[in-house]
């Protein structure tokens, strides 16, 4: 224990700035992948709920396939596999695209559940005031569904933040890759990885704390309905 | 009723119970003789449920003591002070008191017979065949022999409550506690449960029954206790308590109950 403290005393000044710098990349990767997953996921959810059969089929197929494959395999396909076809990505954008497209499948299920949780009477009421089904979705259902999906979206975000560590395996520059470099150059893997884990914890805990409060608020709100 | 000289089966001494700042029981003293049937009546929130739950230590009293046949329940006296006993000893003491809940609390993953035999098999360690034979007999006794293999969800409320009574009887308890056993039932189902309880009283079982059924209290009880605001306001034979209550609060309560 005291030896560990001594290691930190000696190296913390050198490691911490590097790791924090890399954590910035982790956050950027998470944010970009989240946005991609959000947009694609919402489109997939709408497609899956649409009256057009081929759209529904495509969305279902996409979701089933993506949910059956590890994100690491998808990163490898994009980063190494697509290069065969002349599509060469840097590791960082490859990771963003991989996590985004993979995450979209989960996001789609979250959105779909959220939309379905809104009573059909809401749509009907919107139709009776002359809205089109699409307008009813946009102005009546989605705003209500957003409230429902907020906690699962936040949980997805936290999971994504941690999953980006996997991008280190394709050498995308982020926190875990920097940690691995430092661990092998310093021969102090324990101390370095613990420090990296602590940084992930610091990034994820506030969000999960807020999410849980939100969830508690919502479930209380529901009790009164 | 047994003679005046019989030792009390249950003795509650100066029982207090607080939930946080709320004082729910404020000094309850009570004796029940073997074979007595006692009903407890009183307005909502007066502490009737809490009293029953303190007697079998589902709630730990804030102070005061409970004795079964002069043995302390839930505590031990080590010569200087009282200490709370462990789960295992407490479980053993609870086998002497059966309890029937307002909302039945049957175990939904077990059949009627499974509910009745779980205690005998797992607690009393009876051989399964013996426990099943006895359980079947108890279900016959409450008129549900033909429902032994049904799950609770397929039974009516009245049937569920009778299974719950059989479940309590299966442990051969010395004392039966009932907490408003008919309050959650549709009116037409109340009778079948009260009939079972009446039969148990006639058998000479020792029973402590919290109830809003005034007829039952009048007809079956040896003694009626009126509780209000966490104390026993008055008690007496039903004929006297119902016809001639000495306290204003009792009179007021009875008048309201009759009007309903």
């Amino acid at each position: 224990m005291s030896e560990m403290l001594a290691v930190y005393q000696k190296h913390l000044g050198e490691w911490l700035p590097q790791l924090i710098d890399a954590a910035g990349n982790t956050l950027r990767m998470t944010a970009l992948a989240f946005v991609l997953a959000f947009v694609v996921g919402l489109l997939l959810a709408l497609a899956k709920l649409s009256p057009i059969a081929p759209l529904r089929l495509f969305a279902s197929g996409y979701i089933e396939v993506m949910r059956g494959i590890p994100s690491l395999a998808i990163l490898f396909l994009i980063y190494f596999g697509l290069a065969d076809f002349g599509l060469v990505f840097d590791a960082f954008p490859a990771a963003v695209i991989g996590f985004g497209l993979n995450g979209a499948a989960y996001m789609a299920e979250i959105f779909r559940a959220g939309i379905l949780s809104i009573h059909s009477g809401q749509t009907e009421a919107a139709l009776t005031v002359g809205m089109t089904p699409l307008a009813a979705m946009r102005w009546v259902v989605l705003p209500q569904a957003l409230r429902v999906v907020l906690p699962p979206l936040a949980n997805f975000g936290i999971a994504l933040l941690k999953d980006t560590s996997v991008a280190s395996i394709i050498s995308a520059p982020e926190l875990m890759l920097r940690a691995r470099d430092l661990a092998s150059s310093s021969f102090r893997p324990m101390e370095v990885f613990l420090l990296a884990a602590a940084i992930y914890l610091v990034m994820s805990l506030p969000v999960s704390f807020l999410t849980r409060r939100l969830e508690a608020r919502f479930s209380r709100g529901q009790a009164h309905v | 009723m047994n003679g005046e000289t019989a030792e009390p089966l249950l003795r509650v001494v100066d029982l207090y119970k607080n939930f946080g700042a709320t004082e729910v029981l404020k000094g309850v003293d009570l004796e029940v003789k073997p074979g007595e049937t006692i009903t407890i009546i009183g307005p909502s929130g007066s502490g009737k449920t809490t009293l029953l739950r303190c007697i079998n230590y589902l709630e730990r009293p804030t102070s005061g003591h409970v004795f079964i046949e002069d043995r302390l329940v839930g505590e031990a006296w080590d010569g200087k002070s009282y200490r709370h006993i462990g789960d295992r000893e407490l479980a053993k003491e609870r086998t002497e008191m059966g309890m029937v809940f307002q909302r039945f609390n049957l175990w939904p993953h077990l059949t009627a017979l499974g509910n009745v035999t779980l205690g005998p098999i797992r607690v009393l360690k009876k051989p399964a065949a013996e426990a099943r034979a006895e359980g079947q007999a108890l279900l016959e006794k409450v008129g549900l022999g033909h429902k032994a293999h049904e799950y609770p969800e397929r039974l009516s409320g009245g049937q569920q409550q009778r299974v719950a009574i059989a479940r309590a009887l299966a442990m051969q308890p010395k004392l039966l506690l009932f907490d408003e056993p008919t309050s959650a039932l549709d009116p037409e189902l109340i009778g079948e449960v009260l009939n079972v309880m009446r039969a148990l009283a006639l058998e000479g079982r020792t029973m402590l029954v919290v109830t809003h059924e005034m007829r039952f209290a009048q007809d079956v009880a040896d003694r009626v206790i009126f509780m209000d605001h966490g104390v026993i306001v008055e008690e007496g034979p039903p004929a006297q308590l119902f016809a001639n209550p000495t306290h204003n609060r009792t009179r007021e309560f009875l008048r309201q109950v009759v009007e309903r």
């Binding site: 590890p70 395999a73 324990m190 | 993953h109």
Partner: protein, 229 residues
């Protein structure tokens, strides 16, 4: 079209390498799953006894595990512990890392399941003289089981996919063997596509088994649905 020709030509060789590796993936996932269930159950039960210090330790474990990447936990086990002289084989580290991680998730699932059972169930058990532990065993857990099976089977599918990351500590499962194959043949697109298909097939099979299991439990005619309907 060259792509498909090469793919078909090499398929037998790829499969010869990757199918045994898939067996290793399944073994790692199964080992981690069993460990996760045991750890999760113990942690969930420890929280029900309501001893402040115990709860604090258990909660901290759960929060720490759930707040950090499983890859970091794996590296701490595999690389970090060598500093104190503890060396795991890649497979041991994989099972331990994924299992301890999953234990924290399942602990939450099991706790929610236990808490979903009405307090009256426990009380009724206590009144017939059961100890809290006996009541847990014969009254609460059998009922909680049906609540926790769907999230637990979902977890098993996530776990199967998570095993891919243990290639990072050179555990000889699909992903690791695939990377070696790529280094050998340079046919990265074909190989990773095949890998993706293999995971998909395994996930679908597991999902199918899970659904059957859930239906069987749903039918085994006890609580809930029929009565509520």
């Amino acid at each position: 079209m060259l792509f498909w020709e090469r793919f078909v030509d090499n398929l037998p060789y790829f499969l010869e390498v990757l199918i045994p590796a898939a067996g290793m993936t399944v073994r790692i996932a199964a080992g981690a799953f069993v460990l996760a269930i045991v750890v999760g159950l113990v942690l969930a039960l420890l929280q029900t006894i309501r001893i402040g210090l115990v709860t604090l330790v258990v909660r901290s474990y759960i929060e720490l595990i759930r707040g950090t990447p499983v890859l970091a936990q794996l590296f701490i086990l595999y690389f970090g512990l060598t500093e104190v002289g503890i060396r795991f084989t890649p497979i041991q580290a994989a099972i331990l890392g994924l299992g301890l991680n999953g234990g924290a998730y399942l602990a939450e699932v099991f706790r929610a399941g236990i808490e979903s059972i009405h307090a009256g169930q426990m009380e009724a058990a206590l009144t017939v003289g059961m100890t809290p532990l006996t009541a847990m065993r014969y009254v609460i857990l059998p009922q909680a089981l049906r609540v926790v099976v769907p999230p637990t089977t979902n977890y098993s599918i996530a776990l199967l996919k998570d095993t891919a990351i243990v290639s990072a500590v050179a555990a000889p499962e699909i992903m690791f063997k695939a990377r070696n194959l790529v280094m050998e043949t340079y046919l990265s697109a074909q190989i990773y596509l095949l890998v993706a298909i293999m995971y998909l097939v395994m996930s679908l099979i597991l999902a199918f088994i899970s659904r059957r299991l859930e239906r069987r439990l749903g039918e085994s005619g006890t609580t809930g649905q029929a009565g509520a309907a």
